[in-house]
Symmetry: C2
Subunit: 458 residues, 2 copies
């Protein structure tokens, strides 16, 4: 009898695994059950789709269900919402939305990639029809429809993380009237406050009404035939044609949890280095899972597309009977608010303290080109080094065009366990159009050396 | 009696050392003897100065002799050309161009940072007044004067390396009539031919007449009162108001060589990890020195501003009695021809063969933003991995705005001795405006894994 792999979830972490198994073990039947009608799409692209920077929802789809079926022999079943896992019997139970019936499907191996779900605090009105999450392409399609119906849009964004900031950019670029509300005293709380401040400045510059330290109390419908309503926050009322929830996500681990599989941090599915769960033959990957934090040396839940793709690949290689190991994450991420870019990796000061590190922190202001070169833009780099070991444990960058991806150099250095002394000597590229002769990365490392040594010069 | 450090050469490798000693050992007298009237300038900025992108020659000066004297207590003596070193007596002999006399100066420690000199092959006419090197700010000043005198400039660039390419851009942007002649069959021979090809395409697109595989035979003056003349190359004559020599440089090590100090590769000064020469108390740094190539594990001569600054710093720390060690180089470099950027690090295919590596090479075409994002530009990354050890041993990148500095991630990975498997798992930043979810660096590493494994997928 043919061996069957059932994959639950058809985005990055599911389909990467499915494709690895198809290529490595063509004899295995691969069935993917996906709740929505979409596969392999870029959820990270949704803000740019809503903002009209990306034209067509199909642009965000890397591969359609049909092409998985026709070109790769993957049996993708869309509109199938898995409702229960029977690990003893080796069966999944799914609701087929199209046919309107329950189907049961036996498996030999199971891979769960159910992603994450938006956090919805228990506040009044969050279930009103003009309140939108932006997690799936279905969410995106509904939101775009609403925005088109509403005409001149008054958008209220609730939350100041990546999604909140990117949705604010998106609505601002559409020429909408945009308010961003966050309970935090800064945008992007994965950055330290000093590094996040330029994001709020830029948001205000492009016309976003940024309200920090502002707790949302609820949403009220306008009533009658009037669409939209108001968001009540910090004692004020903010009129809204559309409300976007960007309050973060939590792992969508209920299925595995109910089946008795071990959950970990924030109820994310616990997996080993091969992406195996606590149940035999059951793998998991992506936003529903834990990852190991290479610097903190603890499991964390960092739901990001990059991690989902890599974990999916590792799961697939192991599901195929080969060997691969997922070494963990640094929490590297980049984002932007219009022309202001940010990047971060490893631990922020807040996190370094939380994990009990003794550290020094340094911030340098440098330029994106040689100082004398036209269009040299300011670029600010902050980094943290552990005392005694002198290792870099975190870094953040903020600046104009080209700043964000410079974080990758520090992420790579941290990945290798480099000390600040190593980083000072890194052989990085230099020419006047690309930066100063001492790269901003060198400069921040030199500052850290000086702090660690207490020496007169570094 | 006060201890005295004499530094020969007032650019990066000399002044970095001088400043370290001043800060760490304020009691030491620091005398710098500099042949020209300039200190601490960006020679790499000269093409952009000549091209009018940078306005003023003073912009290229990071710190003037006067500010070294007044603000830092460094006794900088410009116009002093050192002509001999008496290591037994502990004295340098210099010609003071201003006073027109020889001075002798005793030292306790000596630091030599005499840089490099342009290669001038023994061809007829290279000493004609319209034939220019572009090594020092004096060269730059003379060249700018000639260009201003000549009016509409017909420039012939001899050599297709960094200087040749950047000077061609510079003259093309001035609207001049530019010819680039190179004996090589590609531009930028530190890149592999496939990666260098887009540079020649771009050069031609902006109007540069690029002549590859074209050997220069000599330069002839127009004669009489007519300025300029012609360059004879490959049997043709190229009229020129100005000729730029960009045939590379050789270490300016004659002083130390004549004093009996050990020279190494290409007659560069041999130094240990602390930048000490074979003579007691005599240090050297920068373009006159060897460096250790971290991948090749052999001494090399790679004259670059980044290396000069780092070696100068290390020399200075050691001269001050503290400890620092220069770990070596990868030969990382970036450059551009107008909108086409290139970066390289480690070994090219040619070099990998020369050093006897068994390796695989892979090239991927990716995009600078998510594929569906507007203004996504093509970016091509090539990398080499050693067989068996699976380590990355070289990488090159070519593409539009933002491509060049991506080489730094691979340089950092190589610095750490990472394998292709490590690179696949690197936690790099991703958001749609900044690249695909699998970074081009990941993609090239995955391709290398596949080549090394011969496996169906990676």
């Amino acid at each position: 009898m043919t061996e069957r792999l059932v994959v639950v979830g058809g985005d990055a972490a599911g389909m990467s695994a499915a494709m690895q198994v198809r290529r490595r073990r063509p004899e295995v039947e691969v069935v993917v059950l996906e709740r929505t009608m979409w596969t392999s799409y870029s959820a990270c692209g949704i803000p740019y789709l809503v903002g009209g920077i990306v034209d067509d929802i199909d642009d965000l789809v890397a591969r359609t269900p049909q092409s998985f079926r026709d070109e790769h022999g993957v049996d993708v079943r869309t509109g199938h919402e898995v409702r229960a896992l029977d690990l003893d019997a080796g069966e999944v139970e799914a609701w087929d939305h199209t046919a309107g019936r329950t189907v049961r499907l036996p498996y030999d191996q199971l891979h769960v990639a159910t992603g994450a779900v938006p956090v919805r605090p228990p506040l009044p009105g969050l279930d009103l029809p003009f309140v939108h999450g932006v997690q799936t392409l279905d969410d995106a399609a509904r939101l775009i429809e609403r925005v088109q119906d509403a005409g001149g849009t008054r958008a209220v964004i609730v939350g100041g993380g990546y999604i909140g900031v990117e949705m604010a950019e998106s609505f601002a670029q559409r020429g909408g009237d945009v308010t961003l509300l966050t309970a935090s005293d800064q945008l992007m709380p994965t950055l330290d406050a000093d590094m996040a401040a330029p994001l709020a400045d830029e948001a205000r510059k492009v016309g976003v009404d940024v309200r920090l330290s502002t707790e949302v109390e609820g949403v009220e419908a306008a009533g009658g035939d009037t669409p939209g309503g108001t968001v009540v926050a910090g004692g004020e009322s903010f009129p809204a044609d559309v409300v976007i929830l960007g309050l973060g996500v939590r792992p969508n681990s209920a299925l595995l949890g109910a089946a008795g599989v071990e959950l970990g941090v924030r109820d994310a599915v616990r997996v080993d280095r091969r992406q195996r769960t606590s149940a035999d033959g059951v793998f998991a990957a992506g936003d529903c899972c834990e990852s190991f934090h290479v610097i903190a040396r603890e499991p964390v839940h960092i739901p990001l597309g990059t991690v989902a793709n890599k974990q999916g690949r590792v799961a697939g290689i192991n599901l195929a009977g080969d060997y691969a190991s997922f070494p963990g994450v640094l929490g590297t991420a980049v984002s932007r608010m219009c022309r202001t870019e940010v990047g971060r990796t490893g631990l922020s000061e807040r996190e370094a303290e939380q994990y009990g590190f003794g550290y020094v922190a340094a911030t340098v202001h440098a330029t994106s080109r040689a100082g004398y070169f036209p269009d040299a833009e300011r670029i600010t780099v902050k980094a943290l080094a552990e005392r005694v070991t002198r290792r870099v444990i975190g870094a953040q960058v903020v600046g104009r065009e080209g700043a964000a991806k410079r974080i990758d150099v520090l992420a790579t250095a941290m990945w290798a366990g480099m000390t600040v002394d190593d980083v000072v000597e890194l052989d990085l590229g230099y020419a006047p159009p690309f930066g100063p002769v001492w790269d901003p990365v060198h400069l921040v490392a030199r500052r850290l050396v000086k702090l660690l040594d207490g020496s007169p010069a570094s």
